[in-house]
């Protein structure tokens, strides 16, 4: 890092060097046995250099690569949008590491303790340490370190299955047990019933919320809005875009995974509502997109592309069971969300594992091969109620960490293959 800074200081008016070091241990479980143990160390230096309206972003490992990059940048035409560096200087340091996670990274022998189930268990337990160091031309030097413990388990009960996930900044065996219990509970529903195409009141589990809110939050990126690939493209802050009961936060100052104190431009992060009680509050912004929109950065850089850090949907006032008291369809898990139109939010996503049909508050069976085929705007507008209980979720098809309740949504279009 020092070599890079020394080189850049003498030659470039504006720069940022972001070093990321991630060390991970990933244990893959198949049929209740350990199938693979992966230990991966990834180190990268991402460098943004800028002169006027010319810039280059490179991954470099040697000063020679930097020198080459400088030569390239000098010949580039001016860019439509150029990354900026926040004027904040000084040193910042924040270390939040958990010894339990660090121990699991070097010794995974406790895994078998988590696999005691009446069903066959599949899934992943992973532990990681992230170190993030940012040096900017404004004199900012930040160091942050975090540990993550996360996992998901899918259990098989004949033709039926259940899946759940967790994320935690601490090594927490209790969360692993809850994850397995939830997966077992959902796999235990075994009556098959048919469900035709139509509009239903659905309850989305926190797993499904994690997947869909990831899409909402990336559409809230100022870049998505600026390029027209967003349901927020024709909206302005203050517009009602969702149910009054629906609040979606980006919360990098909490304790959840992917919480950081500063963004890639050295701008302090802050907690903010993207949507507050149904009202669109703010896009997610870095310095350059904020300038285009005539706003302040929200501390979400990403050079050029602002992105969410870690999400939270505010809890409601009803219990999990209370949400299921009527005639509803509970989607416990989903995957494969794809958009037909990012401007009007038309999408579909496929339910997987247990899709449980409740009538009069009682489960009457599970159905299969259904998908939500609706508009994202309708999903957030038709939120009727949310549970008091919330779960920290991050998994393979919802990698952006967040905290979510169960959510009852009226009149959702389901389609069956």
């Amino acid at each position: 890092m020092e070599e890079f800074i020394k080189f850049l200081k003498e030659r470039v008016e504006s720069y940022a060097v972001l070093k990321n070091e991630v060390v991970s241990t990933v244990v893959k479980i198949v049929d209740s046995k350990v199938e693979a143990v992966q230990r991966i160390k990834e180190t990268s230096y991402n460098v943004m250099i800028r002169k006027g309206r010319r810039f280059l972003v490179s991954k470099v490992y040697t000063p020679e690569q930097l020198r080459e990059g400088l030569g390239i940048m000098d010949k580039l035409p001016e860019s439509r949008i150029v990354p900026k560096v926040h004027e904040l200087s000084g040193e910042r340091r924040s270390v939040k590491e958990d010894d339990g996670i660090l121990r699991f990274m070097s010794d995974t022998s406790s895994v078998e303790d988590f696999l005691n189930s009446r069903y066959q268990v599949h899934g992943v337990l992973s532990a990681s340490r992230f170190k993030r160091e940012l040096v900017t031309s404004a004199g900012f030097h930040g160091n942050e370190s975090r540990t993550w413990f996360q996992g998901y388990m899918r259990v098989r009960n004949g033709q039926y299955s259940g899946q759940w996930a967790f994320s935690s900044p601490k090594y927490d065996p209790e969360k692993v047990k809850i994850t397995l219990n939830k997966a077992e509970e959902y796999a235990s529903y075994t009556e098959r019933i048919d469900l035709g195409d139509g509009y239903y009141d659905v309850v989305l589990s926190p797993m499904v919320m994690a997947n869909l809110m990831m899409s909402v939050s990336y559409m809230a990126s100022g870049y998505s809005i600026f390029t027209g690939n967003s349901i927020f493209a024709n909206r302005k802050p203050g517009d009602m875009v969702g149910s009054e009961k629906f609040t979606l936060m980006d919360r990098p100052r909490g304790e959840e995974l992917n919480s950081w104190d500063f963004d890639d431009e050295g701008f302090p992060t802050r907690d903010k509502a993207i949507i507050s009680n149904g009202v669109y509050e703010t896009p997610l912004l870095n310095l350059e997109i904020a300038e285009i929109m005539g706003k302040e950065s929200t501390g979400n850089a990403g050079w050029i592309y602002p992105r969410p850090w870690t999400l939270e949907v505010k809890e409601g006032e009803v219990s999990e069971e209370g949400l299921l008291s009527g005639n509803v369809v509970l989607l416990t898990n989903n995957w494969y969300t794809r958009f037909q139109n990012r401007a009007d939010g038309q999408f579909s996503t496929v339910a997987r594992d247990a899709v449980i049909v409740f009538k009069g508050g009682k489960p009457v069976g599970t159905t299969s091969r259904v998908r939500i085929a609706d508009k994202l705007n309708n999903i957030i507008s038709n939120v009727e109620e949310l549970s008091k209980e919330r779960y920290s979720i991050a998994w393979w098809d919802a990698p952006l960490p967040g905290v979510y309740p169960y959510t009852l949504i009226k009149n959702v279009h389901l389609s069956k293959a």
Partner: protein, 460 residues
């Protein structure tokens, strides 16, 4: 002699196990992105490092940029893998030629070419408005060197060129957001061979026509013709993935899911007209390789033959569970990822009929030319494709565009309704996801135009 042979052999000696793969893997890439003809950004990336995978109960995989970081681990688990197919690994090298070297033009020249294309597209005489055109050019070179069990030495080099474009267009009170990709392995000659300029202009005109003249379509059972864009994604999603043997065995159950071949054990999947292959040896393909990452020579696999299952995709670990040998399907997306059973270039085989003959016999139907939204359940049975460019077909003639028809059904239902495929074969690039940590790997998806009889068509 491999450039990193000494490091790889030293690593092999450090891991005293019966099966040891060591790999040096580097991917260098450059990306140029333009927004409405103006430079948006230039990005240079390099991912390089070493990995070792060995079997000691479970599979163990360690990876780092620095080979000195890599050591055997000491913990013990009862593993899931019972063993492996121990066929002798081969030595050899493969590469894709850059007829015109990627570095034969400097960045300014490339940016200038892309700007010319953008400006020509943006100046088309159309009634709709192009709100935004993001044109992204990506060139990469993937280099790998492997030593298997200390004896087999393998090297591979595949340069690739990809062009993607995102269009946001409005007209007639409608908005479309669209995304397409073109790509192949090779050098800068790819830009001409892929007909990027012509493709983009044709796309903009076609979307303008759709916005201005697109009509709603009535739902119900109809004859459908799928272009190679649609048959390609179908080959990949509903045949390639469920024919990955690790998925059939349950190794991906908690991630990318299972397979109808495991859950339902289907003996027939499609009509006699359905033949699907996966072939890493296709020239210019993005999924090209000749020796896989476990030292097994690559070859064409015929997954479905005349509508019936014929062969799964195997690596060394899945093959013995089926009393089979590996057919060379193991690939890793980068130095920090384990090799997995992966598709390469997956496609429906063409027939002998012309496209006109395919059309002639359709009294009333829909031609799906491209799609945006698609997905499939994790058993790879229930799937959905929503048309973007789609046209009414009447009495054997392609008519006016229709708005967003949906083909939704099960794999066996849709493939059993295929009664004809034409004699064309086109490929499109894709990035296939699998594994944990997730691995996006370059593939081609392809096929001929394909006719399906009396299949369910829905509407948004």
């Amino acid at each position: 002699m491999l450039a990193h042979e000494d490091d790889l052999l030293r690593l092999t000696r450090r891991f005293p196990y019966s099966y040891v793969e060591t790999r040096y893997h580097k991917i260098s890439s450059r990306v140029i992105s333009l927004l409405n003809g103006e430079l948006l950004g230039v990005y240079r990336d390099e991912e390089a490092g070493y990995s070792v995978r060995y079997l000691n109960g479970p599979l163990y995989f360690v990876a780092s940029r620095d080979p000195d970081d890599l050591r055997p681990t000491t913990e013990k688990h009862e593993g899931w893998e019972p063993g492996l197919w121990d066929g002798e690994p081969v030595s050899g090298s493969y590469s894709v030629e850059e007829k015109q070297k990627l570095d034969s033009q400097n960045l300014e020249e490339k940016i200038s070419s892309l700007r010319d294309i953008s400006r020509e597209v943006l100046s088309q005489d159309i009634r709709s408005k192009i709100n935004n055109l993001i044109l992204t050019y990506s060139e990469s070179v993937e280099e790998k060197e492997l030593v298997i069990n200390g004896s087999s030495l393998i090297s591979g080099r595949v340069p690739r060129v990809l062009i993607s474009f995102n269009l946001v267009m409005t007209g007639n009170g409608r908005t479309i957001t669209a995304w397409f990709e073109l790509g192949q392995s090779g050098g800068l000659e790819s830009l001409n061979e892929l007909r990027v300029r012509e493709h983009l202009i044709e796309k903009v005109k076609s979307l303008d026509h759709l916005l201005q003249s697109g009509r709603s379509v009535s739902p119900g059972r109809k004859d459908v013709i799928l272009s190679s864009v649609l048959s390609g994604i179908m080959a990949h999603e509903s045949v390639g993935h469920p024919f990955e043997a690790d998925r059939v065995l349950g190794r991906e159950f908690a991630q990318a899911g299972t397979s109808y071949m495991a859950e339902l054990g289907l003996k027939r999947i499609g009509s006699e007209m359905v033949n699907v292959a996966d072939d890493p040896t296709v020239p210019k393909s993005t999924g090209f390789f000749l020796i896989d990452d476990e030292g097994v020579r690559a070859r064409r696999k015929l997954l479905i033959k005349n509508g019936e299952p014929n062969e799964f995709l195997h690596d060394r670990f899945t093959a013995p569970r089926f009393n089979y040998v590996s057919n060379g399907s193991a690939r890793a997306s980068g130095f920090d990822r384990e090799p997995l059973v992966r598709m390469s270039n997956t496609f429906f085989l063409p027939g002998e009929m012309s496209f006109q003959e395919l059309l002639e016999d359709v009294k009333e139907g829909i031609f799906f030319k491209s799609y945006m939204e698609w997905n499939i359940d994790d058993m790879r049975l229930g799937q959905r494709y929503t048309g973007l460019e789609a046209y009414h077909v009447k009495s054997g003639e392609i008519g006016e565009p229709v708005l967003f028809p949906i083909l939704e059904g099960t794999t066996n239902e849709l493939l059993s309704s295929v009664d004809a495929v034409d004699d064309s074969l086109q490929f499109f690039p894709g990035t296939c996801g699998k594994g944990d940590p997730d691995q996006g790997i370059p593939v081609w998806l392809g096929g001929p135009d394909m006719r399906l009889r009396n299949v369910p068509v829905k509407v948004i």
